[in-house]
Amino acid sequence: MKKVLISFIKFYKKAISPFFPNSCRYYPTCSEYAVQSIEKYGALKGFLKAIWRILRCNPFSKGGIDKP
């Protein structure tokens, strides 16, 4: 499950993401954050954390460095 999710995200990063303008306000980017947090916390918790990160990644947030 973990591996499947991560490979999906990696595929998105490689193949789909380059076609949107760079938009993430954070370092690491939301997709990298998702990979790292799934590796760190497991599929469910990591995935939820990644979603929370995407929600935080909006124009009202300050951005900057935010690691899982």
Binding site: F11, K14, A15, I16, P18, F19, F20, P21, N22, S23, C24, R25, Y26, Y27, P28, T29, C30, I54, L55, R56, C57, N58, P59, S61, K62, G63, G64, I65
Partner: protein, 548 residues
């Protein structure tokens, strides 16, 4: 240089991914939702090749005969249906049906929205023609096989024949149509009342059928409207809405408290609702992708038959009317399927409908809705574009960092992000606005695809149907151009990004060519608004700089 190559690789990968997805989807949909239109095209092609081949008389005659055979077998499935045994209820789908009624002894009623036709043989509804859509809700299959809504099926085939293949006495009293049959000690009285809302009040009283099971046909498949949306039987119970696809292999029986039942496609439906819930509905496959729905009834019933378009406001009106009269919530609006993002799609549609009530043009309503959506998202977009401009001022410092950490791209990115948060100007809009746009777009796509309101709804000039593709491809091309223009005007330092956007503009133009014109209109308006917005910001920023 290295970066360029990497980008090219990614570009390739992207197109491979997209094409695999698209081909995969096409295969998936043709496998799971076989398209009727395609088959018809095939048939036409066969006929054409046949005539072409007979013209070249002596050329491979064996081929011609096989072609002829295929056309014959296909014709058979169209005109003659399989004999289906339904256990207790026999639909009697055989030659007798066709010879019993030549569809000439009819009653034609002109109504504001079109024309309704009844046959005096069996007192059945044989045509509901809707002027606005140029569509007959009673389909070709019904007419070819003489099986119609409002037909009574009994568990005794001889009686079924008697009831449906005999001529009824007809009397009209204003909007009330009374059909009467008295024969062999059996009496059937069917009363239809024409209502302003388009549904037909249906009252049936029978005598002499008390010892039999009787059922009422309330839906016969009448064709699909494109591959999108559900077409097949539809049953509403007090608990949920049950949809049964038209390609089932065996009869399906649904028991429960049935409020109404019938058949639907994306835009239209035929249903019968009784004032008291009924118990059992049968859905019987009768031919390829064709089902007949019938509901078991007591000897006397009082309800309505509706055959018409699934207009949101109309269905609401009918639901309300019977909520008052019967005290039952029929929830007819549930038949409009706004898709997986229905939670978003439904409010979008309601707003769209609300705007339409003022402007009376669906195209204009779409434009206004787009403007409203932009206004809601504007603070977000505005801020990000402003920040983008600010970033141009930060460019020299960023260049410094780039050079400093050229060998460590991760460290470089981190440093750049640090700089942004220190300067209080992050050029990135964030991932949320981009992610949020996807469900909105999909929801709107669903809305524009399923709304019968948009069918045959003209916009301006050359667009006569917003639910169909633009016949001259003017809108998709304009949309592609607007994407390129947007790229020109948006401040961006990345050359690769620009190149990719040009390619994207081309891809989107082709992708959107066959999309409904209404959807392309949305996308085009959205782009134009984006261009205007960045133009204004560019100007304001210019002023700000000059003052400084």
């Amino acid at each position: 240089m290295n970066n360029d190559q990497d980008m090219q690789k990614r570009t390739m990968l992207f197109f491979v991914a997209v094409s695999i997805l698209m081909i995969g989807f096409a295969m998936f949909s043709s496998y799971f939702f076989p398209n009727k239109e395609q088959k018809q095209e095939n048939q036409q092609e066969i006929v054409e090749t046949k005539s072409a081949q007979t013209a070249q008389a002596d050329n491979n005659s064996s081929n011609t005969t096989t072609v002829e055979k295929t056309t014959q077998t296909e014709k058979k499935t169209v005109t003659q249906s399989k004999y289906v045994s339904t256990g207790n209820f026999d639909l009697l789908l055989n030659q007798q049906r066709i010879s019993a009624d030549d569809l000439k002894d009819t009653v034609v009623i002109n109504v504001p929205y079109g024309k309704i036709q009844f046959s005096k043989i069996g007192a059945r509804v044989i045509s509901i023609y809707l002027k606005k859509y140029n569509v007959d809700v009673i389909g070709e299959y019904s007419k070819a096989n003489r099986i119609f809504p409002a037909e009574i099926i009994t568990t005794n085939p001889e009686l079924t024949k008697l009831i449906n293949f005999s001529k009824y006495d007809f009397k009209q009293d204003g909007k009330k149509l009374v059909f009467k049959l008295e024969k062999n000690g059996i009496s059937v009285i069917k009363t239809f009342v024409l209502n302003d809302t388009g549904e037909l009040t249906l009252n049936i009283q029978t005598k002499g059928l008390e010892n039999l099971g009787i059922a009422l046909i309330d839906g016969i498949s009448f064709g699909e409207e494109g591959s999108y949306g559900h077409s097949g039987a539809i049953i509403k119970t007090d608990k949920d809405l049950i949809k049964i696809d038209s390609d089932i292999e065996k009869e399906e029986i649904i028991r429960g408290k049935i409020l109404w039942s019938g058949v639907e496609n994306k835009y239209f439906m035929q249903i019968f609702a009784n004032h008291k819930p009924l118990n059992t509905v049968h859905v019987v496959p009768v031919a390829e992708n064709k089902t007949v729905t019938f509901v078991e009834i007591p000897p006397n019933i009082d309800g309505f038959f509706f055959g018409g378009a699934k207009l949101y406001s109309l269905l609401g009106e009918i639901t309300e009317k019977y909520q008052k009269e019967w005290g039952v919530n029929l929830a007819l609006r549930e038949t409009i399927d706004f898709g997986i993002f229905g939670i978003l799609g439904k409010p979008l549609f309601i707003i769209l409908h609300f705007i339409y009530n003022y402007v009376h043009n669906w195209g204009l309503a779409i434009i206004i809705l787009t403007i409203l959506l932009r206004l809601v998202l504007f603070p977000l977009n505005h801020k990000s574009l402003k920040a983008m401009k600010k970033m141009a001022d930060l460019a020299p410092e960023i260049e410094k960092i780039r050079k400093q950490y050229a060998k460590d791209p991760q460290k470089m990115q981190a440093e750049i992000m640090k700089l942004y948060s220190e300067a209080g100007a992050n050029p990135m809009s964030g991932c949320l606005p981009i992610v949020a746009q996807i469900p909105i777009f999909i929801a709107l796509y669903n809305v524009l695809m399923v709304s019968v309101e948009l069918k045959n709804a003209p916009f301006i000039l050359w667009i006569h149907d917003l639910s169909d593709k633009d016949p001259y491809y003017i809108l998709p091309i304009l949309m592609g151009l607007s994407m390129i223009a947007q790229q020109w005007i948006t401040p961006s330092s990345d050359k690769n990004q620009k190149m990719i956007m040009y390619v994207m503009a081309g891809v989107f133009t082709f992708l959107f060519m066959n999309f409904p014109a209404g959807l392309v209109l949305y996308w085009l308006t959205n782009n134009i608004l984006g261009i205007i917005q960045s133009f204004i910001i560019n100007k304001q920023m210019g002023r700000y700089k000059a003052k400084k």
